[in-house]
C-alpha cells in the first residue's frame, strides 16, 4: 500500500517537473495540435475503435442490435421531446470515449443506485465533471476540455473544447461559458481593494490563477475568448501546478452563461464590482446590467427553490454550490431533480451527457442515483438490509460490515487512504479566549496531551486493532515524509505528561475538589481547565475518542467535554468561524501532497481545526503570537502560494511538513492506510483499490457513470 502511494506521488512530482521544465526553457518545443500535450481526451482509447461509429452512421441497421442510449431517452426521442442522440453528444472526433473504465460486458441501461445522503460534498464529487482531472498515476487528464497547449514561455495555456458538447438543458457548451465564469463570476467575487471575497464564494479559487511578479506581488491571470472551442489562460509568471490547481480546486471552471446572465450581479457601478467590463472578451452579445435585487427576483422567477435571503446567499448557493439545486444546467452524468428538503435526493440522468463507452453507447448506464437522507447510525443496517447499495466506512466499522457481507449481499472493497492520521486531536490555535489560547499554543501542553494518551487502547477500541499508533505526519514513502516524524511523542507516559504540565505557568500544580487543574491568575483564575471538543454528527468513534481522552486527560487533571453536532455542515461551519470552538477530534486528516493540496495542513484556509482563524491570515493580516511556530506556517504557506518554480514549491511544502513536525499542532493517535466500501452485489463494474481522497474526488474517482445494475 505504501509503495503505491509513493509511486503515485513520485509520478506527480515528475509531472510537475515536466511543467517546470517547460516553463524554464522557452525554446522547448510545444506541440500545437490539441490533445497531444499531456492529458488529452481520447488519449486512453488509442487502442480502441474510433468512436466515429456513433456519429452520423449510427442509423445504419447493423448498429441497431445494441441500444446506444437509455430506453427512457430513446422514448423521448421518439416522442419528439428530445433530439436524436447524435445531436445531443459531441461530434465523433470530440466525444469522450471511456476506454479504461468501460465494462467488458454490454450492460443494459436503467436502474437506480442508492446510497445515503452525507451532504453535498458526498454527492457533489460523486457526479462531478471537472475541466481537467487528476489521475492516480499522477497524470492530468483532459475531461470537459479536449486538451490544451502550453506556450513556449509557459505563460499561455490554450484550452480546447469539444465540438457539439451541450449543457444538460441542451444549450451549447462553448468557450464563452468558461470565460464568462472566470471574468463575471469568479473575478467579480473578489473585492479589488481589499482582496476579500464579497459574495458568491467562487472567488476563493481566484488565488490559483495568480502568480507573482518580479516584486513578489500576486498578479491575476487573464482568461480570454478565442473562438467557441478555444480560450486562453495567460499567467503573469509560469506556474507549474496550474492544471493541478484547476483539477483539485477549481474543478468547474465554467458555468452556463445564458442561465446565469440575469441572476449574477453585473453592475459596474456596484461598490464591489471588480470585473472586466469589456464584453467582447466573452464572445457573443453583451450582458444586461443586473443589480442585487434584480438578481434575487430573477432567480425566484426561475424556480421557487431559489428563494434566498440576500444576494450573498444566492451567490454562494447558486454560484458556488450549484449542484444542490434542481434546474441549474450542468455537464454532469446525473442532476438533482428535487428540493434539498426532501428526504431522498434524486439525481436523474443527463440526456446530453457527453461520454460514451468503448462501444459508443452513451453513458451513464444507470438512470437514477438516490441519496437517501438518514442518520449515520443507520448506514450499516440499511446497507445490510439492502436499502442502500453503497456505504463507506473505516476500520472502526469494519467487523460489522465484513461479518454481514453474506446477509447483506454486498462486497467489502478496500481503498487506499493517504491520511497523516486517522484518529487525532486538534486544538484551535486561534481560540478567542486568550487564556485557553495561550495554553493550546504551549508546546509542552500539546506534548503532554500526546504522551498521556494510550494509543494501543485507542487502536483497540476505535480501530479494532487494525490501525498503527502514530503521530500526525506524512506516512513513510510519501514525498512529505520526515524520518522519525510518525514516531514523535507516541510513548505512553502519564507521569512525564504530568511533569510537563507542572512546568507550565498559569495553571495550577494541584487539583481542585473535582480533581482538575485550575487556571492561576487571569480571567479564569481558580476555574477548572475544561476543553470542549467538537465531534461529528452521530459518529460513534468520535464520541468514543472524546470519552477516552476524557479518561486519559483526567489523569492530567484536565476536563474534556464533548461538543456534539448533529449536522456535519454545522460542524464544518463552526470550523470556518475560526475562533469559536476550542478543538476537535478528527477522523482522518492530512494531505495527500502538500505541494498540490496543502489545505488541511497549511494556513491557506480556515477549515482545519488547529489553524482556526489564522487560516485567513492572507486576507485578514493577523499576527500570530510569537514563539508559537504559527508565523513560520503562515510564511511557508505564502511561499507555497506564490512559488513560481518547482524547487520553490518543494521547499515550501517541506517547510510546512517540518513546521508540523516541530510543533505538533495536530496530535495524531493512530493511522490507517485504508478505507472501505461496501457495495451491493447488484452494482457491477465497481473499481476498487483507488486512493480515496478529496484531491481525487473520493467515490467520483471510480467513475460511477460506468457502474451498471444487474439484479
Amino acid at each position: 500500500m505504501k509503495k503505491r502511494i509513493a509511486a503515485m506521488l513520485l509520478a506527480l512530482v515528475m509531472i510537475a517537473g515536466v511543467f517546470a521544465g517547460c516553463a524554464g526553457q522557452p525554446t522547448a518545443t510545444t506541440p500545437t495540435t490539441p490533445a497531444s500535450n499531456s492529458g488529452t481526451a481520447n488519449s486512453g482509447n488509442t487502442d480502441t475503435t474510433k468512436p466515429a461509429d456513433n456519429g452520423n452512421q449510427q442509423a445504419a441497421p447493423a448498429e441497431e442490435a445494441i441500444e446506444k442510449e437509455a430506453p427512457m431517452l430513446a422514448a423521448q426521442v421518439k416522442d419528439g421531446k428530445l433530439p436524436p442522440l447524435e445531436e445531443r453528444i459531441p461530434t465523433a472526433e470530440d466525444v469522450y470515449v471511456e476506454a479504461k473504465y468501460s465494462p467488458e460486458e454490454t450492460p443494459s441501461y436503467g436502474g437506480v443506485v442508492r446510497t445515503y445522503n452525507n451532504g453535498m460534498w458526498y454527492w457533489g464529487p460523486f457526479c462531478e465533471e471537472p475541466l481537467f482531472r487528476l489521475l492516480d498515476d499522477g497524470t492530468v487528464e483532459a475531461n470537459v476540455a479536449k486538451g490544451y497547449d502550453l506556450s513556449d514561455d509557459g505563460l499561455v495555456y490554450t484550452i480546447h473544447l469539444r465540438e457539439g458538447m451541450k449543457w444538460s438543458d441542451g444549450t451549447p457548451f462553448t468557450a464563452t461559458d468558461c470565460v464568462y465564469y472566470y471574468n463575471y463570476v469568479l473575478v467579480t467575487d473578489v473585492d479589488n481593494e481589499t482582496g476579500k471575497i464579497t459574495k458568491s464564494n467562487a472567488g476563493r479559487n481566484y488565488g490559483w490563477y495568480k502568480t507573482t511578479d518580479e516584486n513578489g506581488i500576486l498578479r491575476p491571470a487573464q482568461v480570454r475568448y478565442v473562438d467557441d472551442l478555444t480560450f486562453t489562460i495567460t499567467l503573469y509568471s509560469p506556474k507549474p501546478t496550474l492544471l493541478q490547481a484547476i483539477c483539485i480546486d477549481n474543478k468547474w471552471m465554467f458555468c452556463p452563461k445564458e442561465w446565469y446572465k440575469d441572476i449574477m450581479v453585473n453592475d459596474a457601478s456596484a461598490p464591489h464590482w471588480s470585473g472586466e467590463t469589456d464584453l467582447k472578451l466573452i464572445g457573443g452579445e453583451g450582458l444586461p446590467t443586473i443589480t442585487e435585487e434584480e438578481a434575487l427576483a430573477n432567480a425566484l422567477k426561475k424556480s421557487e427553490l431559489y428563494n434566498f435571503e440576500n444576494f450573498s446567499k444566492l451567490g454562494d448557493q447558486l454560484g458556488y454550490r450549484y449542484w444542490q439545486y434542481a434546474g441549474r444546467p450542468t455537464l454532469r452524468p446525473w442532476n438533482i431533480v428535487n428540493a434539498l428538503t426532501d428526504q431522498t435526493l434524486v439525481f436523474e440522468r443527463n440526456p446530453y451527457y457527453w461520454k460514451v463507452d468503448k462501444d459508443g453507447r452513451q453513458l451513464p448506464y444507470i438512470d437514477t442515483v438516490e441519496f437517501v437522507g438518514m442518520d449515520q447510525n443507520l448506514w450499516a443496517q440499511e446497507e445490510i438490509a439492502g436499502n442502500i447499495d453503497v456505504a463507506r466506512f473505516d476500520a472502526g466499522d469494519f467487523p460489522i460490515y465484513k461479518a454481514s457481507e453474506a446477509v447483506g449481499n454486498y462486497t467489502v472493497y478496500t481503498e487506499i487512504s493517504p491520511s497523516w492520521s486517522s484518529v487525532g486531536l486538534e486544538l484551535n490555535q486561534s481560540y478567542k479566549d486568550l487564556q485557553y489560547r495561550a495554553l493550546f499554543q504551549n508546546i509542552d501542553f500539546r506534548h503532554a496531551l500526546s504522551i498521556a494518551a494510550d494509543r494501543n487502547e485507542i487502536n483497540e477500541i476505535i480501530g479494532n486493532g487494525m490501525m498503527t499508533p502514530a503521530q500526525f505526519a506524512a506516512p513513510e514513502g510519501t514525498g512529505d515524509y520526515i524520518a522519525g516524524a510518525p514516531q514523535k511523542w507516541v510513548e505512553y507516559d502519564v507521569a512525564a505528561a504530568n511533569k510537563l504540565l507542572d512546568g507550565i505557568e498559569g495553571i495550577s500544580k494541584e487539583l481542585n475538589a473535582d480533581g482538575f487543574r485550575t487556571f492561576v491568575g487571569g480571567e479564569h483564575d481558580g476555574q477548572a481547565i475544561t476543553i470542549e471538543l467538537e465531534t461529528r454528527a452521530n459518529a460513534p468513534s468520535d464520541a468514543q475518542l472524546v470519552a477516552l481522552l476524557a479518561k486519559y486527560y483526567k489523569a492530567l487533571g484536565l476536563q474534556i467535554v464533548e461538543s456534539n453536532n448533529t449536522d456535519n455542515n454545522a460542524r464544518n461551519e463552526r470550523y470556518y468561524a475560526g475562533d469559536i470552538f476550542m478543538g476537535a477530534v478528527n477522523s482522518s486528516s492530512g494531505s495527500f501532497n502538500v505541494m498540490l493540496r496543502p489545505d488541511a495542513v497549511a494556513a491557506n484556509r480556515n477549515n482545519s481545526a488547529f489553524v482556526g482563524k489564522y487560516g485567513l491570515e492572507h486576507q485578514d493580516a493577523l499576527t500570530p503570537e510569537p514563539g508559537t511556530g504559527l508565523a513560520e506556517l503562515i510564511d511557508a504557506t505564502k511561499a507555497l502560494v506564490s512559488a513560481n518554480k518547482l524547487e520553490e514549491l518543494q521547499a515550501a511544502s517541506k517547510r510546512i511538513a517540518q513546521a508540523h513536525y516541530d510543533n505538533t499542532w495536530v496530535i495524531g493517535f493512530c493511522v490507517s492506510d485504508r478505507t472501505y466500501d461496501a457495495v451491493n452485489n447488484r452494482v457491477h463494474n465497481f473499481r476498487s483499490g483507488f486512493v480515496n481522497c478529496d484531491e481525487l474526488r473520493f467515490l467520483g474517482y471510480t467513475k460511477p457513470y460506468t457502474w451498471f445494475i444487474q439484479d
Binding site: 461479518a403 487502547e457 477500541i461 486493532g465 473535582d514 479518561k551
Partner: protein
Amino acid sequence: MEMKDKTKKTPVRKSQEKKSDKYYYASQWQLMGRKFRKHKLAMISAFVLMIFYLIAILGNFIAPQGTEQYDGKYVNCAPTPVHLFHEGKFVGPFVYGLKMERDPVTYMAHFAEDTEKICRLRFFTEGDEGGEYKWFGLIPSNIHLFKAEDGKVFLFGTDNMGRDLFSRVVLGAQISLFIPVAGMLMTLVLGLAIGSLAGYFGGWVDTVIQRIIEVVRSFPQVPLWMALSAAIPKTMKPAQVFMLMTVILSLVSWPGLARVVRSKFISVKKEDFIMAARISGAPADKLITRHMIPSFLSYIIVDMTMAIPGLIIGETTLSFLGLGLRSPATSWGVLLQETNKLETIMFYNWKLIPMIFVFLSVLAFNFMGDGLRDAADPYK
C-alpha cells in the same frame, strides 16, 4: 389429622372476630394499607421496586466498576457466565479468564473462556484502582460486593468502550430511578402550592393561575423537554444536570397536578367539616395544610405514583437522544443509546439488557399505582 385441624380452627375464628373489630376501629390509613396488601401484583411490584431502589442506593458498592473505569482490552465482550464447577469439581463461584481472538477475516473480537485460568469471585473485597467511591457522598471506600480474582467478570457483558454493563446498569439506576422521584416530589410541592392557592382563594388568583396552567399544558411535553434539555450547558457536572433534569421534568408536569388539587379544593371547600373549621376560626394556612390537603392526599399520592412511569420514560428518552445526561455519567437511557442500530442487536444483543430494567420499573410503578388507587378508596 382431624385433631390437628380442630385445634387450629378455634384461633382462626377468634382472629376473624378480632379482625372485624379492628376493621371498624381502624384508621383510614390502616384500612388503605390493608387493602393494598391484598393486591398481590401491587405487593410484588412494591417489593421489586424496593429491591431496585436498594440496589441503586448501594450502587457504588454493588457495581464492580465505577463510571469512568474501562478497559480497551474488553470491548463488546459478551456476558461472562459464572461457574460453580470446574471439570466436575466444585470450586465455588468463579469465572474463566478471557482470551480475546480476532477473526482473521472480519477482525471482529471474540472473547473465549480460557478454561485453564480460574478466577474465583471474591466477595466484599477491595475493588480495582479507579473504583473508589464515597458512601453517601461522605465515607470514602473501595469495597465492592464482588470481584473476580485476576480476571474480569462482566455479568451483563461490556459496551463499545469496554465498560462493564452490569456496573453501568446499577449506577444508571441511581439516575433513572431517582430523577423521576425527585421530579415527582418537586411536582408535588409545586402542584400542591399552586393548586391550593387557586382552589382556596378563587377569584382573580384562580383566573391567573388557570391561565398559566393552560399555557404550560399547551406545550407538548416531549418537545418541551427536548427544548429545555438542549439548553443545558455541556460543561455542567452530572449532579447539576441531575438537578436541572428534575426541574425540567417537574416544570412540565406540575400543571396537571395543580388542576386536580384545585378542583379537589373547590369540592372540599363546600364540605361540612371545612365549614366547621372555618367557623371555629382556623386561619387559612392551617385550614389548607391541616384539613383540606389531608382529606384528599391519598388521591394525590396515587396520582403521583401513576405519574412516575411517565417520568422514567421521559428521562430515559431524553438521555437516549443525548439531551440529558452524557457519558461517562450513566443512566439507562444513556446505555440504550448504543442499541439504536440493527447491528447491535444482531451482534451484541446483551446491550438490550438495560431495557429490561426500564420495562420492569415502569411496569412495577404502574401496578403499584393501581394497587394504591384501589386502596385509596378503602370503603368501596
